[in-house]
């Protein structure tokens, strides 16, 4: 009853709309749509990219783990044999397109995190694959600067906790050459154009490097690209894969390679 009565009324109201009114209404709808799409973009950037990145990282990590072969993880409670010197760290190999390592951050997040490391810092790498290695910088184990980049927020927010690295904190790298232990020693904030942090001896042109260091770069402050945060760590230990992971990351390695 109601519907029959109101239908002609509604149609009349529509016919009364002027052309100008219709154009205005259409433009209004377009603007509202644009607003909603922009909000959706923010949702995509802050939330969806993390899910995409987590899936892609998991996949490349699993592929790498297959190449690494059986990972030896000592039984729970087995004491670490201290002070075994496995000799100098060999230089890791990395070729364009490779995912060649897994980095472990026991101090990141609640219980530590791990992310794959791939060759290159273009967006196809760091938007989805976790950590990217700057080509033209040195390789792990080599004297000089092994430099990597990752997102601070969005796309997996891999280096979210980079500013919390402190004295005595370790960052580990697992490649097919073994486990590299890096110990944090400095963090600085620089301008985005300040590429000389990637030099073999950071900030110093033409200075022959004497140490192997790891340089991690990311955005600063979070949710901005105004500056870059740079965290430096020094290679302090290495052990072959057969020796099993260092005690601090046993659980993380088990998690990554299971």
């Amino acid at each position: 009853m109601n519907r029959v009565a109101s239908a002609p009324g509604r149609r009349m109201a529509r016919e009364k709309q002027t052309v100008g009114g219709r154009v205005t209404g259409f433009l209004g709808e377009l603007l509202i749509t644009l607003g909603i799409v922009l909000m959706l973009y923010v949702v995509w950037e802050l939330w969806w990219t993390n899910i995409d990145s987590a899936n892609a990282q998991k996949e490349v990590t699993q592929n790498l783990v297959q190449d690494l072969g059986d990972v030896v993880i000592p039984e729970e409670g087995v004491e670490e044999e201290e002070d075994i010197d496995y000799g100098p760290a060999p230089t890791a190999e990395a070729a364009p397109g490779d995912t060649f390592g897994i980095m472990y951050f026991p101090t990141f997040g609640k219980d530590g995190t791990h992310h794959p490391v791939s060759y290159g810092v273009q967006s196809s790498v760091i938007d989805n694959l976790g950590i990217g290695y700057y080509p033209n910088t040195q390789l792990p184990g080599e004297k000089g600067n092994f430099a990597v980049a990752a997102h601070r927020q969005t796309h997996g927010q891999v280096f979210w906790d980079i500013d919390k690295l402190d004295n005595g904190d370790h960052v580990y790298l697992q490649t097919k050459e073994g486990y590299y232990t890096y110990t944090w020693f400095d963090t600085e904030i620089v301008a985005p154009s300040n590429g000389d942090v990637l030099l073999p001896t950071p900030h110093q042109w033409g200075v022959e490097p004497t140490e192997s260091i790891l340089t991690m770069t990311s955005c600063h402050p979070p949710f901005s690209t105004r500056e870059r945060i740079i965290a430096y760590s020094e290679l302090t230990d290495w052990r072959p894969l057969d020796a099993g992971p260092p005690k601090e990351i046993r659980e993380l390695v088990a998690d990554a390679t299971s």
Binding site: Y41, N136, R152, P192
Partner: protein, 55 residues
């Protein structure tokens, strides 16, 4: 525009509401999976690398 689309969906009102929701979901998915990843390469908001130097 949206009123026109809604009027031209087939079926009774309850079905048209479901159809409209499916259309919205499809558009959102299209944006999330294809449009935004493409758009983001032009976005300056998340660059976390540092000026590359040629060695």
């Amino acid at each position: 525009m949206y009123a026109w689309i809604f009027r031209n969906l087939p079926g009774p009102v309850w079905l048209r509401i479901i159809e409209a929701l499916i259309l919205i979901a499809a558009v959102v998915l299209l944006l999330m999976v294809y449009v935004f990843p493409w758009l983001s390469q032009y976005s300056p908001f998340t660059d976390s690398t540092i000026g590359q130097i040629t060695l």
